[in-house]
């Protein structure tokens, strides 16, 4: 607490609280390379703004002596290096959020690590920040890491940069060194369209130009770091933009009230305003606005509200309420920049869940156009994205959504990708623009549809998907099942690994990418056949869970029956009907499932066939029994009587 503050607090607490009520909020991110002194700077900011209590200071002095890196002197970095694991390694490993305030502003600092492998943390921290403090060690100047961080900051839409040139004490507070680094940085920043740059010479350890102007750098006439953070203009343009409210939750306590709750992403809304609901396009007018404090006449971007409309129209979670005369576009195919955040690489063709604002839909990723080398900013060809890679690609959603390009709206242009199996967040994306190419290729709503065709053939079309190791007996069992169905008068078709690979998929090999594409095509063909009314038997090793789930996702619930033909590897290898295991063991066949390529067994197959206990006949009977039980085939069909 500054001395003046303390006096005011003591003398007139009400006046103090009133003055602090009107503080604004600035979120910023700090980034720098390892050892640039970032933690020391944040610790110093907390100390200078009196956020450290006496007991914490005691603990800090204690810690500084024990594990500090400053020879027993107070090590401010220890204030912010949180987790025990990090202390042991002597580095910061995750995003941490810090808070401090002055009498003008409250600040939330996203403290992110400088390691190369932790790009995802930096992107996370930058996603909510309005300003970035980029640290540079005055001795080292602009490094590859500095460029990388600046690029990420620019990518995430941060326009205001503070170039904090730290450790000036180690270059004798030399103005020429400061100017040199500043001009090198400005030249680079212009390339990535960053222009709002404030360079400040600092010594975080000594406190120079942090809160008070440094007497050791009288040549510097600009603001101190804290003064600059207090006065940097906030992003206020969102209230000048058109109104957007992603609907989070429909509030219906009784039949009289139906409100649509959400956080206003941009613009202003007033009672009586005409609104459009997206993607449906229906219109109505705002009847009432409930703000946090009760009913209000208008509300602005950043507020959580509940709106009621004049008409009873269909609105649900995931829809966007927008000003009727300038609604956002609606599309299902996009181009996007993707930041990959998971150890398992992004492979084109796979299906993920995409969450944008309050909407979650399935999304298929198209082939990657290029990857960006963030060190050189060059575009590089890439077949997949590894952890911390940034790439550009198309994506197709299962249904159309309302969106805006990311540079227009972080809320309606930023999304996360979620793995459907593990439920983890595996990537983040920035929408650029809708794709026009396939816009007009839509399914025709034909009068002769799947149902009509199925009724004609007295069966419920479906896919029976046999998966298991090579030599497990998939094709043998699938053949027996098909014979039984055929004898029973059902219309069937068997897609077999060998016959499809000889024709439709003869251009594909056995790399991970090709295996994904192989199964994607088979899944699509199976879907068309189901649409044609057939019972489709698919017999493929299909080793990856994600691909089988992708095939399942193409169909309606209940149309996909996964049959796991479970045979131990040793037994399949002992059978070795086609002599493939021998070849694989000799190294003549590569990427052979079970030998040098993994098989991921189904976690919850509809049917599990243990071939160590069942004959092929009995296994086929078990499949038929399941199809009856699931009412896919009906024993009491009229034509049987």
């Amino acid at each position: 607490m500054a001395a003046a503050d303390s006096e005011l607090i003591a003398a007139d607490i009400e006046a103090y609280l009133e003055s602090h009520r009107h503080k604004s909020l600035l979120r910023f991110i700090t980034c720098g390379s390892v050892d640039d002194g970032k933690s020391s700077l944040i610790g110093r900011l907390l100390f200078e703004t009196k956020m450290i209590f006496a007991d914490q200071l005691r603990a800090l002095e204690d810690d500084s002596r024990r594990v500090g890196t400053r020879g027993g002197a107070i090590d401010f970095a220890l204030l912010v290096d949180g987790l025990a694991a990090e202390r042991e390694q002597g580095i910061t490993i995750d995003v941490a959020y810090r808070f401090f305030s002055t009498d003008k502003r409250k600040f939330i600092v996203a403290d992110t690590p400088g390691h190369e492998q932790y790009t995802r943390n930096m992107v996370t921290g930058a996603s909510t920040a309005e300003l970035a403090v980029i640290l540079v060690d005055a001795r080292k100047g602009v490094l590859t890491q500095t460029r990388r961080h600046s690029y990420l900051v620019a990518l995430l839409g941060i326009e205001k940069i503070v170039l904090a040139i730290n450790k000036m004490d180690l270059v004798d507070f030399d103005e020429r060194r400061f100017r040199e680094i500043e001009s090198e940085y400005r030249a680079f920043a212009a390339k990535i369209r960053l222009s709002d740059i404030t360079a400040i010479p600092l010594s975080a350890v000594g406190g120079d130009n942090v809160a008070a102007a440094s007497p050791r750098m009288s040549w510097y006439r600009g603001p101190t770091l804290i003064a600059h953070l207090e006065s940097a203009p906030l992003t206020d343009s969102v209230t000048h933009k058109a109104f957007r409210l992603p609907v989070q939750w429909v509030n219906r306590p009784d039949p009289e009230f139906r409100g649509f709750a959400g956080l206003i992403a941009s613009g202003v809304v007033r009672a009586g305003d005409p609104l459009r609901v997206l993607p449906s396009g229906r219109t109505s007018r705002v009847a009432r606005i409930l703000g946090a404090g009760g009913e209000v006449s208008h509300a602005v971007a950043g507020e959580s509200v509940t709106l009621t409309l004049e008409d009873e129209i269909d609105v649900s979670r995931g829809d966007v309420l927008a000003s009727a005369d300038s609604p956002p576009p609606v599309a299902s195919q996009f181009h996007a920049t993707i930041v990959w955040m998971h150890d398992e690489p992004l492979v084109p063709g796979r299906v993920y869940l995409l969450k944008l604002a309050t909407k979650t839909v399935t999304a298929t990723l198209a082939p990657i156009k290029y990857r960006i080398d963030v060190n050189t900013l060059e575009r590089v060809a890439a077949g997949r994205l590894e952890l911390n890679d940034i790439g550009y690609c198309g994506l197709e959603l299962a249904s159309a959504i309302a969106f805006e390009p990311y540079r227009e709206s972080r809320t309606l242009g930023g999304f996360i990708l979620i793995d459907r199996l593990t439920n983890t967040t595996v990537g983040a994306g920035l929408l650029e623009a809708a794709q026009r190419r396939a816009e007009n290729v839509h399914w025709q709503a034909l009068d002769v549809n799947k149902r009509a065709r199925a009724e004609l053939s007295h069966q419920k079309p479906c896919v029976v998907w046999f998966t298991g190791l090579s030599g497990a007996g998939k094709s043998t069992i699938a053949n027996l099942v098909e014979k039984k169905l055929h004898a029973d008068g059902r219309q069937t078709y068997l897609l077999d690994g060998d016959n499809v690979r000889l024709g439709l998929n003869k251009d594909l090999g056995f790399s991970v990418e090709d295996r994904v594409e192989n199964i994607r095509r088979v899944g699509e063909v199976a879907r068309l056949m189901v649409d044609a009314g057939l019972i489709v038997l698919v017999s493929f090793i299909s080793p990856f869970r994600a691909e089988r789930d992708m095939a399942r996702a193409l169909l309606e619930p209940g149309e996909f029956v996964e049959v796991f033909v479970d045979t131990p590897l040793a037994q399949a290898e002992a059978r070795d009907v086609k002599g493939l295991y021998k070849k694989a063991r000799r190294g003549e066949l590569r990427n052979f499932t079970g030998i040098d390529s993994p098989y991921e067994p189904p976690l919850a197959p509809e049917v599990l066939l243990d071939t160590t206990r069942l004959t092929p006949q009995a296994a086929a009977e078990a499949v038929i029994a399941h199809l009856r039980e699931a009412e896919i085939i009906d024993v009491d069909l009229t034509w049987e009587i």
Binding site: A10, E14, Y16, G82, Y97, R105, G302
Partner: protein
């Protein structure tokens, strides 16, 4: 956006978090510890769902040693807003006879950590709102707003989901549950200032009043009932005291104070030189202990 004050923005963001959880989770509950942070959480929840009631119950872990005034306040609050109140006590711990002064960590482990796990399992809670703030201590500063726990209720700080923009991924794996911290970005001053501005009701124990206390290892412990063992040298004094944090009364130190109104309390807090958790005895065993406790399932 710049028209909104920092408190208005924090309020709007917390309300957004409450609504996301209700929209995406099956059985949320508000972990109601009866302290000031719980009061603010409840106040925000009431706003988030008005004119409906918050669509989840309050869940309180009663150690059996809560201040009586806290329990009165709890019951009155649930009644006033017509909310479902779930109270759980670890009966095993009671039978085992652990007391707040039992040496070691058995008490905190059984009556707080285990009790919480039992309650979440018993009521099938898949998303529990907690009042934790990132400014409280260092390991919290890195915790996500949506913080996942394994089926064993463990926190894995190295395996947290990235949290971008205001997009929260609430999808759980079987057996997992989520702790949600809507006040993550609030500081202690924000909380007090909000209570002041919004006239949020808080337990009167936060305000100074003459109360019976004894001195234990330099701390003032309130004699809230006759169960507190008093030695021959213990002298019950009647001092004007208040509490900066609330928990089990034998473990919660009082501070001598004359701050009898909310603004007095805020003034004292602003001019204080000790951080909030100093009064909480459970936190006094090593800098990394909170991280360890959380990995084991402490909230």
């Amino acid at each position: 956006m710049s028209d909104l004050t920092h408190l208005q923005r924090l309020e709007a963001e917390s309300i957004h978090i409450f609504r996301e959880v209700v929209a995406e989770c099956e059985r949320p509950a508000l972990l109601y510890s009866i302290g000031k942070d719980s009061s603010v959480m409840l106040h925000l929840a009431l706003k988030a769902f008005a004119p409906a009631k918050p669509p989840f119950p309050l869940l309180q872990i009663a150690s059996g040693w809560d201040f009586r005034e806290m329990l009165e306040f709890r019951d009155a609050t649930a009644k006033r807003y017509g909310l479902e109140l779930l109270v759980h006590t670890n009966e095993e711990g009671v039978r085992a006879g652990v007391k707040p002064w039992t040496p070691g960590t058995a008490y905190a482990d059984l009556m707080l950590t285990q009790a919480l796990r039992q309650a979440l399992d018993k009521y099938g809670v898949d998303a529990a709102f907690g009042g934790g703030r990132r400014d409280e201590e260092k390991s919290r500063a890195k915790e996500r707003i949506f913080s996942f726990r394994s089926a064993q209720h463990r926190w894995d700080p190295k395996n947290q989901r990235p949290e971008l923009w205001q997009l929260y991924n609430a999808r759980k794996n079987r057996g997992e549950s989520i702790r949600i911290f809507p006040l993550s970005n609030w500081t202690e001053l924000d909380v007090w200032q909000y209570i002041h501005l919004e006239k949020v009701p808080v337990v009167p124990l936060y305000l100074a009043k003459t109360r019976p206390v004894v001195r234990r290892d330099g701390r003032l412990i309130m004699v809230d009932d006759e169960r507190l063992p008093l030695g021959p040298d213990d002298r019950v004094e009647h001092l004007k005291v208040r509490f900066r944090t609330l928990g089990c009364y034998p473990l919660t130190a009082a501070t001598e104070s004359t701050a009898a109104s909310l603004t007095d309390v805020i003034r004292e807090m602003l001019l204080a030189t000790g951080s909030e958790r100093e009064g909480r005895i459970v936190d006094h065993d090593g800098a990394a202990s909170m991280e360890k406790k959380k990995q084991e399932g402490y909230f």
